[in-house]
């Protein structure tokens, strides 16, 4: 799939090897992420029910499906699916953006954007920002369990999901709240265009009405997910969740 101009006609082209197939892969993996963030956001709201309920929910995620699944089995299945989706999503994005750059090596001196949304124009750099955030987020709450607040790396904080969460968003760590809110803004942007784009790539927007509905879906997913996620750090820093 190299970007080379040709003077010959291509015979036996396979649809599975096309740029549209790459886009379909991006759309399908993107939908996996949309479903994941919806469930993840909903689960986070358990923080409003207090320490006991939140920690019980965290433990329940590990015992889910027992004895059919081993302890933590569901989480490992999810991790494999998410990692696979990430490889597919980022891999296609890199391949497609390399094609795009090869197609326009000389930029326009003047170029106006007439129809594209800000969110659609920030997909690539916004994605890089999100990826960096996800790396930090996983280090902070899953892999290393970095406590930036009071109590340091003591086990009673790091092994208590609720305390690890609340310690991260205390007023003294206001900058952590800012990082998370900025990341949610980036996520909202990415979801706003990404949701619409996935629906269009899958070929479900064949009329003006269905296209308008897909745009509304983009707004709804972006606001519900980013808004829902932002509630927990905001209500923690203002002392409602404690």
């Amino acid at each position: 799939m190299r970007a080379v101009a040709t003077t010959t006609l291509i015979k036996g082209a396979r649809s599975t090897r096309s740029t549209i197939a790459l886009k379909l892969l991006m759309a399908a993996s993107g939908i996996v992420f949309i479903l994941f963030v919806l469930v993840h956001m909903y689960g986070n709201l358990k923080a409003f029910s207090g320490e006991l309920a939140y920690n019980e929910y965290a433990e329940h995620l590990r015992t889910f499906g027992e004895p059919y699944l081993p302890y933590g089995g569901l989480l490992w299945i999810l991790r494999v699916v998410l990692l696979g989706s990430l490889v597919a999503h980022v891999g296609s994005a890199v391949a497609l953006s390399m094609r795009a750059h090869a197609q326009r090596p000389v930029k326009y001196a003047v170029k106006k954007n007439k129809a594209s949304s800000l969110s659609s124009r920030t997909m690539r750099w916004g994605a890089v920002a999100l990826l960096l955030f996800v790396v930090w987020h996983l280090l902070q709450f899953t892999i290393v369990k970095i406590n930036v607040g009071a109590g340091g790396q003591a086990a009673e904080v790091t092994e208590n999901p609720f305390r690890l969460l609340t310690a991260a968003f205390q007023p003294e760590q206001w900058w952590m709240v800012v990082i998370y809110l900025l990341a949610m803004l980036a996520l909202a942007f990415h979801l706003h265009h990404g949701t619409f784009s996935a629906i269009q790539t899958l070929g479900f927007t064949n009329t003006a009405e269905s296209r308008a509905r897909a745009r509304v879906a983009g707004w709804v997913v972006a606001i519900v997910v980013a808004g829902g996620f932002s509630l927990v750090p905001l209500f923690t820093v203002f002392g409602v969740i404690s």
Binding site: L9, K23, P105
Partner: protein, 246 residues
């Protein structure tokens, strides 16, 4: 009207090009954009300079030959072709930047002229129906539903000018491709080759080096024939189905 024109000058495909500034006086607001360039070329010839090379043919907005990126907009500020754009859309004293379509698949021939034969090859690779020629068949023997016929006619207005590629940050020809796929795919006559068509046309599109679509909508906004973005959805749907149907 007096104008300052910044025009891309490039001797041929291999030379490096640059924007060159020209002052042009005596432009009438009733002139078309191409007539304004004709006036500039007369001035250049008078001064023994090389005239600016640009594409044009019918000058009626139906052939798809004219192009030009005008102040960062394909075919300029109005929803029409450059030949049907008039100088009344500009003001006295304006500076107008004129560039060629920029895409590796549309190599520059000279100045503002690009080679759009990549589009011809996409059409050659499936953008047709195979029908026996001879006497015209009875019109009512193959009924076509009205809404499908209207969609086919509306998308058949694509003149292949390449504005969609020029406006797209990825240099994708998806709107052009989608217009052809929808035009032929909506009609009964297009059905037998529907899925092999989408495979070979997309294959040619990719082999020509055009980029992938990111569904941002700049193409539809630039299209002088107002081809809507939903043709790209149709293209995606037909390609997706072709994966299963072979």
């Amino acid at each position: 009207m007096k104008l300052t024109l910044k025009i891309w000058r490039q001797a041929n495909a291999s030379e490096k090009g640059a924007l060159k500034t020209y002052e042009l006086d005596g432009v009438s607001s009733d002139m078309s954009f191409l007539e304004m360039l004709d006036l500039l070329n007369e001035q250049l010839l008078h001064n023994d300079e090389e005239p600016v090379a640009f594409d044009s043919d019918c000058r009626e907005g139906i052939c798809g030959m004219c192009s030009l990126m005008i102040n960062g907009e394909a075919h300029g500020p109005e929803v029409t072709t450059t030949c049907q754009l008039h100088m009344r859309s500009f003001k006295d004293g304006d500076t107008i930047t004129i560039e060629p379509w920029r895409a590796t698949s549309f190599p520059i021939v000279k100045d503002l002229i690009v080679d759009r034969s990549a589009f011809d090859r996409i059409i050659q690779n499936g953008g047709y129906i195979s029908a026996n020629t001879g006497s015209a068949p009875e019109a009512n023997s193959v009924p076509a539903p009205r809404d499908k016929a209207m969609r086919a006619f509306n998308t058949a207005t694509c003149i292949g000018c390449g504005a969609c590629v020029a406006a797209c940050p990825n240099g994708s020809a998806s709107l052009f491709l989608g217009a052809k796929i929808t035009h032929l795919g909506e009609l009964p006559q297009g059905q037998p080759e529907r899925y092999s068509r989408v495979q070979s046309m997309v294959g040619q599109h990719d082999a020509e080096g055009f980029g992938g679509c990111t569904n941002i909508g700049e193409c539809a906004a630039a299209c002088p024939k107002e081809i809507p973005l939903d043709v790209i959805s149709q293209l995606n749907k037909d390609l997706r189905k072709s994966m299963i149907l072979g």
